[in-house]
Amino acid sequence: MILPTIHSFLRLTGLLLAVLFPSSPGLANDPEFFDVPFANNQWNIGRRVDESKLRYCIDRRNPDWELAAEIVEAVAGALLLEPQRYEVESDFIVEDITRIYAIMLEHCDIHMGFKLTPGGYDNWITLTRSYYHAEYVFITADPDLLALGNLAPTRAIGPTMGTSAHIRLISYIKALSAEDRWPIYPMGTSELVLKSLLNGTIDVGLLWGPAFWAKQVQDPVYAELHVIDPSPLPPTILGVGALLLADKIFLRTAFDEAITALIEDGTIAGILEKFNFPATARP
């Protein structure tokens, strides 16, 4: 339960939302090519009129989609808004983030499931505060390997390409002499990291912890894989929040306030625990 004072504040916020919700997709600046979102027939997408709803998007391709839905529904409850869910249906493996513009323009005000990285997003996007923190994990099928520091330099590491954890790994191995460096085989997706571990292409994988968690839940073939201690590297931990179009400042503020309250009253920790999800709710 939310504390009464917070509840009152959020009730007021919810009322204000109903009045002030901006819904046009106007952009503050003129973004550059590839950063320019475009939706087919975007000029035919009208203004939303039902302002009593919190329209949110989840994507089943995200490992946390079920618990993300529970979190945003809790937020909607706190804001006295009726949650309206839209499930993104797509079987694309990788997509450019500009694609999300069309989805949000048409279907939702909040899209759950984005890692918070400084400078990681274009200026047509804004992000909420984090509702949980999770980490990238080193995993292996070798039962005797318990820490990265014990991995022989001849054995290969396969990181998910371009992540913060991958960059941290690159920085570390560049500080080593050539003969002490592990071969690094960057992989395009978490799925490829896992497959490459099973087929022996790599000895250690480095991927987003929730992605590994979801695969282990879904498929017993991954049960033999285990997380190892990242030392000598520190863990790479990122917050996860929701994405909004940049003009939704008022909603973002309200969402942030609600998340803070839901973390403080233990609601989000309870959801994470319910799913046995590898993340923490931080104030």
């Binding site: 090519f33 493996i93 990788v94 997509e95 990681g120 371009g162 913060s164 960057p186 997706t189």
Partner: protein, 581 residues
């Protein structure tokens, strides 16, 4: 609805400003269209434009001379045609026997009377909702049929007379990122098509395929990323095939009928940052290089068998998205006193380079714009010394000139046999480059992993756009034109001694091919001119056509030319000019 009205207003205004002069071709002209033979492709009628660069040699030159230096100033708008708005398109119309064929970004294929723009037929390809609604740069015509490439990685054969679909061939799975952004050429009876979009979702890189025009069946496939235990296959710093990405063949190639070779470019490795791609730091195994073949190379491929005859790589280990994928111009001229069959290309760095197209031997290079990426090159091999300060490194911001759109972008250079000059459109600018992580979401992690903040060149004169006219007999500069607005179309030299080019600030321009004097400028058109102008005849009259559209590569320069305002809904309009009757 309001946008359509706006476009109509723009077109009406344009017609009032320029004065419309109409043609009078018969509406049933399509009935007389003739099949396109191999001989026609080898020696096209002066009035036809049958493929991307008009001829197999990639010159982008037309011998037509009704419009010439003496009268080009009288050009008027003849007709215009509104096309699907919003989607990025870089259309090159095909014209045969007075009929023009265009492909809208929505993948609506249309046949128009090329004398007056009247619609004859249209075929609406059902592009999947989740495929990118964007145009494809070019198309082919062969026999009775148009050969169309689609954004969802299919090839279509459409009857040119009726607009009826003959066959529809899926070449690759677009949901794994594969796509076609440029169309095919037909060489010696084989459809040749390059693929793009081979990024994180699909390791192993891109490919070029050969197809049977009768059925679309794939005859051969050449992978653009080298494989196997060969020097080329071992050029990826020891990473397995599962970790090799990129090598898009996103620009159509040229064809040398004497050797039956397709000469086609391959783009950069992916991701751009070499450390993220696993290409740096270089491993110590001396049998292994990190050149990343066949990225940034010319491939010479037998048109009928798909056999790779030779390759030449211009820029190994490219960490800046500086493709050498663009036009391949085939020119036979002496070099060092000996006649050479050359294939000439200009990479994004703006360095023109020539290779002997029979052997792959590197011949010469010519620098155009100010750049800081290449410090020098070996005068015998072309091997470059790269400025280490331009290598993007995590945690630092580096400066590179040019930035990723390229000093020379996808807008190809035209070559005129009259002047023996190549007219290279260039832009001059730099980038503050920062490595960017791709954490965002489990799915939304596409992109280049570097942020390019584009800025003017510190030693520049604020003229972003240029044309370099280079004498190809001795690589000397014939003339140079500079202006503030980026020049955003290919150059079109003609038998009339005129070179046409379009600009981002919505002007279509004509220059004297020997002096560089500006001879004509259109009024302001509806949008930036980011496409490939063509010229043709219909009913015996010469026309010049260009597509207006924005957000196509050099649109990225809008951040350093904020004074150039373009319509937000990105209208796409085909403009056709002619002399008054």
């Amino acid at each position: 609805m309001s946008n359509k009205l706006n476009i109509n207003k723009i077109l009406l205004l344009a017609a009032m400003v320029f004065g419309v002069s109409g043609g009078f071709a018969a509406a049933d002209a399509i009935d007389d269209i003739t099949p396109v033979t191999d001989e026609m492709l080898l020696n096209p009628s002066d009035g036809d434009w049958l493929m991307w660069r008009r001829t197999y040699d990639g010159w982008g030159y037309s011998p037509l001379d009704q419009i010439n230096k003496g009268n080009v100033s009288e050009l008027k708008l003849a007709w215009a045609w509104g096309m699907s708005p919003g989607g990025r398109t870089q259309e090159t119309p095909v014209v045969h026997d007075g009929i023009m064929f265009v492909q809208n970004s929505s993948h609506l294929i249309q046949a128009l009377d090329a004398s007056n723009g009247d619609l004859i037929w249209e075929y609406d390809y059902d592009l999947p909702d989740d495929a990118r609604t964007q145009g494809v740069r070019s198309k082919a015509i062969y026999g009775d049929n148009l050969i169309i490439a689609t954004r969802d990685a299919r090839l279509l054969s459409i009857n040119a007379k009726t607009g009826q679909l003959n066959w529809n061939k899926q070449v690759a799975n677009y949901k794994k990122g594969y796509s076609f952004s440029s169309g095919p050429i037909v060489a010696n009876g084989v459809i040749v098509q390059g693929a793009t979009g081979c990024s994180k979702a699909q390791p192993g890189g891109c490919f070029i395929t050969g197809h049977d025009p009768a059925t679309g069946a794939e005859i051969w496939r050449v992978h653009t990323i080298a494989r196997g235990d060969t020097p080329e296959g071992n050029s990826w710093n020891g990473v397995p095939l599962a970790s090799r990405h990129g090598g898009s063949a996103w620009i159509s190639g040229s064809y040398d009928p004497d050797t039956n070779l397709i000469l086609i470019g391959v783009g950069q490795p992916y991701p751009w940052n070499m450390e993220m791609a696993g290409l740096k730091p270089k491993i110590s195994d001396l049998r292994v290089s990190n050149d990343a073949l066949y990225t940034n190379a010319t491939l010479a491929i037998d048109a009928n068998t798909g056999e790779l005859k030779w390759y030449h790589q211009y820029l190994p280990t490219d960490g800046l998205d500086l493709d050498y994928v663009y036009e391949r111009v085939l020119i036979d001229l002496p070099f060092n006193g000996k006649m050479r069959k050359q294939v000439v290309t200009t990479g994004k760095i703006g360095i023109i380079e020539s290779v002997d197209r029979t052997t792959g031997e590197w011949l010469w290079a010519k620098e155009t714009v100010r750049q800081n990426v290449v410090l020098s090159w070996d005068k015998k091999t072309g091997k470059k010394t790269i400025n280490p300060d331009t290598f993007p490194v995590a945690g630092e911001t580096t400066v590179n000139c040019p930035a990723d759109p390229g000093a020379h972008a996808w807008q190809p250079a035209g070559y005129s046999p009259l002047t023996k000059a190549m007219y290279v459109p260039t832009v001059e600018f730099c980038s503050n480059t920062t490595v960017k992580t791709l954490d965002p979401g489990e799915i939304y992690t596409g992109g280049g992993m570097q942020t390019y903040s584009r800025v003017e060149h510190p030693d520049g004169d604020s003229n972003i756009g240029q044309i370099f006219a280079i004498n190809m007999t001795d690589q000397s500069e014939l003339w140079q034109y500079r202006q503030r607005a980026p020049l955003t179309s290919s150059t079109l030299p003609t038998g009339g001694g005129v070179v046409f080019v379009g600009s981002m600030d919505r002007y279509f321009l004509a220059f004297d091919d020997t002096t560089g004097e500006k001879l004509w400028s259109s009024g302001k058109l509806s949008n930036a001119l980011e496409s490939f102008p063509i010229t043709y005849t219909a009913g015996g009259k010469q026309y010049v056509a260009i597509m207006a559209n924005h957000k196509s590569g050099l649109g990225r320069l809008s951040s350093i030319t904020p004074e150039i305002q373009l319509p937000p809904d990105n209208p796409a309009t085909l403009y056709v000019f002619a002399l008054p009757n």
